[in-house]
């Protein structure tokens, strides 16, 4: 296994900048996920790491070796594609062993490794089938087998789960996590699914418009989003945002009046005062209060999510959601007293969208 360093990578397609001044490091045996909406440049970044595309600027180091000029076949990496990209004319056995065959491994060694890999992935009984005779999940495993059989320095996975149905995806998510932790592989994983990114990775690289928005662990990114984009992209249901004004240490908006902590006020003072801010709070940090409160909203709609209710609330221009236990049943049009967990709120600059605290 190896580490990967990307330094100031930029990729332009004509005038379009797909990846802009992109730098990050994947340490040995680390699972790093590039996450962001479609078209944010994450797949392009992966192709650049693989050598399938050349960066316009910047440097790539794989295992501390400058790799810009090394062709994909010599980079000793493996890639799993969203479409699986199995060779349809070859049996599973040949699909998995193809990379070894091209690299002129001994026939016996190929047989041995293919058998080991297939057993490891639980597809030993499928070796003589063709890809067309496999289910989606089985094809996925073959594609993984093709990647791990070569014992490469680095695994690149491009949305490998997005073609699977929801149930299988959850299962494969756990399986992949176990697989790569057993292999102690360095992984760069690309997905647009924030839940997948959160659950699987050691490090998340949140991207938008070809630019890194934030790099951090799941907790860091979730609890301390660096800007409005990250706050809105990571987490489900999406974080509540309301435009607020702050006067004498108290936040005001339609239906909201809440005193901030001293620590928070200090941070605002350090950052510099603005006319307006954006306040962010996650649904699970909004609670229904049994006593009178200075935060009051009206119930707009209640979604039954099985284990809990997702309650959509409204007051003036502000719309928020909260997650409530099922022991209370809010009704449409009902006024609710709410409590925000002030320590779990986030404040963003309305112009630059940067997090103030």
């Amino acid at each position: 296994m190896a580490n990967l360093v990307l330094k100031n990578i930029t990729k332009k397609f004509g005038k379009i900048v797909a990846v802009n001044n992109f730098s990050f490091t994947v340490n040995d045996a680390e699972f790093v996920t590039l996450v962001g909406p479609s078209g944010c440049g994450k797949s392009t970044t992966l192709n650049i790491i693989a050598g399938l595309e050349d960066p316009t600027e910047g440097e790539i180091y794989i295992d501390n070796i400058f790799s810009n000029n090394i062709p994909p076949s010599k980079r000793d990496i493996a890639m799993v594609f969203q479409s699986y990209a199995l060779y349809p004319h070859m049996r599973v056995r040949e699909n998995i062993g193809f990379g070894l065959k091209i690299r002129r491994f001994d026939k016996k060694e190929i047989q041995k490794r293919v058998a080991e890999t297939a057993d490891f992935l639980g597809i030993g009984n499928l070796l003589d089938r063709k890809p067309a005779e496999l289910s989606g999940g089985q094809r996925q495993r073959v594609a993984l087998g093709r990647a791990i059989v070569r014992k490469p320095k680095l695994f690149l996975l491009d949305e490998p789960l997005s073609n699977l149905d929801a149930k299988l995806r959850t299962q494969m998510r756990a399986d992949l996590k176990i697989l790569f932790s057993d292999l102690k592989g360095s992984v760069v994983y690309v997905t647009h699914d924030q839940l997948e990114a959160m659950t699987m990775s050691d490090i998340l690289v949140v991207m938008n418009d070809g630019i890194i928005q934030q790099i951090g662990s799941s907790d860091e990114v979730y609890d301390h989003p660096g800007n409005l984009f990250v706050a809105g992209f990571i987490g489900s249901p999406i974080m509540n945002f309301v435009n607020v004004k702050i006067e004498r240490g108290v936040i005001y908006s339609d239906g909201i009046e809440m005193a901030l902590t001293k620590q928070q006020l200090d941070k605002i003072a350090t950052y510099g005062y603005k006319k307006e801010y954006i306040l962010g709070i996650r649904s699970e940090n909004v609670n229904i209060s049994k006593s009178e409160s200075k935060i009051r909203f009206e119930v707009e709609v209640v979604e039954d999510a099985g284990a809990e209710y997702i309650v959509h609330l409204k007051n003036g221009k502000n719309r928020i959601t909260l997650i409530s236990e099922k022991d209370i049943s809010p009704r449409r049009g009902e006024g609710l007293n709410l409590q925000f967990d002030v320590n779990k709120t986030h404040l963003f600059d309305i112009d630059t969208e940067v997090a103030i605290y």
Partner: protein, 283 residues
């Protein structure tokens, strides 16, 4: 109205149109076959016999065993050698050219220019290029040789092969080739081990067209060959003489010449397995 629904009327109309089309297409073939089974004298009867009364295989026996026009086996072999060589060379060079022109290895301007250039030979009527061909081949002493006719046939079938194969190559999922690249394939390995096996249906279709072109080609063959490399279409045309028209022999040879086309087409069609790429990529 009249107890007929609109869809019934449409169906009846459809059958009538289809029947007319089939008659137009198949009738000449039918006429070819029945003429080959008639005595020559019956071919001149008016009104014509749509169903032959006196069936004979004399024409077939004549051309196969008693031919005065020379050795028909030799001409058959000529046609076979020239056609198979044309197909082989067209597919070999055509698929390589098409692959390089279908991918982004070359600049878009160059590729567009090449594709237009490749078509140029198809723009001119064949007769205008046949004469330069004759002059060039005669300089190289290749007139009336297999190689000479093969070269000319390949040059005419290549553009078609290239254009047809480009479509097939471009429809291959890009990710499969990327996977092969990462698996360690170089350009040629990718082409031979991945792209060609996945393009077999395309190659089969192209081969059928190449076969039909070369097997049936008459004009170049009649100008560029005289005896040694003479092909069947030229032999058939030879039955039209200024003294007599041998309809029976001509059509019998026509029928025999059509047989390989039918056999080859049905054989090649077996290779056109629909959905060969199915399962490679989830759509």
């Amino acid at each position: 109205m009249f107890g007929l629904t609109k869809s019934t009327v449409e169906k009846v109309l459809l059958y009538i149109i289809c029947t007319i089309v089939i008659i137009v297409v198949v009738f000449p073939l039918y006429w070819l076959i029945i003429t080959s089974l008639k005595y020559d004298i019956d071919s001149y009867i008016y009104p014509p016999q749509f169903f032959p009364v006196n069936i004979t295989f004399k024409n077939y026996i004549d051309i196969l065993f008693l031919a005065q026009e020379g050795n028909l086996v030799k001409y058959f072999l000529n046609s076979l050698i020239i056609t198979t060589s044309t197909i082989f060379l067209s597919l070999l060079f055509g698929s390589m050219a098409a692959y390089s022109l279908s991918k982004h290895y070359l600049s878009i301007m160059f590729r567009r220019m090449m594709l237009a250039f490749v078509l140029v030979i198809r723009i001119f009527p064949p007769i205008t290029t046949a004469i330069p061909y004759y002059i060039i081949l005669s300089k190289f002493r290749l007139v009336d040789t297999h190689i000479g006719l093969i070269i000319s046939h390949v040059s005419f079938s290549l553009p078609f092969t290239i254009w047809l194969m480009i479509g097939f190559f471009q429809s291959l999922p890009a990710e499969i080739e990327k996977a092969a690249t990462i698996d360690g394939c170089n350009f040629w390995q990718r082409f031979i081990r991945i792209v060609i096996p996945l393009s077999l249906p395309g190659l089969a279709v192209t081969a059928i067209f190449g076969f039909l072109y070369s097997w049936n080609e008459f004009m170049l063959a009649s100008i560029l060959t005289s005896e040694n490399a003479k092909t069947l279409p030229v032999v058939i045309a030879g039955f039209i003489s200024d003294k007599y028209l041998f309809w029976g022999k001509m059509t019998a040879l026509g029928v025999l010449m059509t047989m390989p086309v039918i056999i080859f087409s049905s054989f090649a069609q077996r290779n056109i397995v629909k959905g060969l790429t199915f399962g490679a990529v989830k759509e």
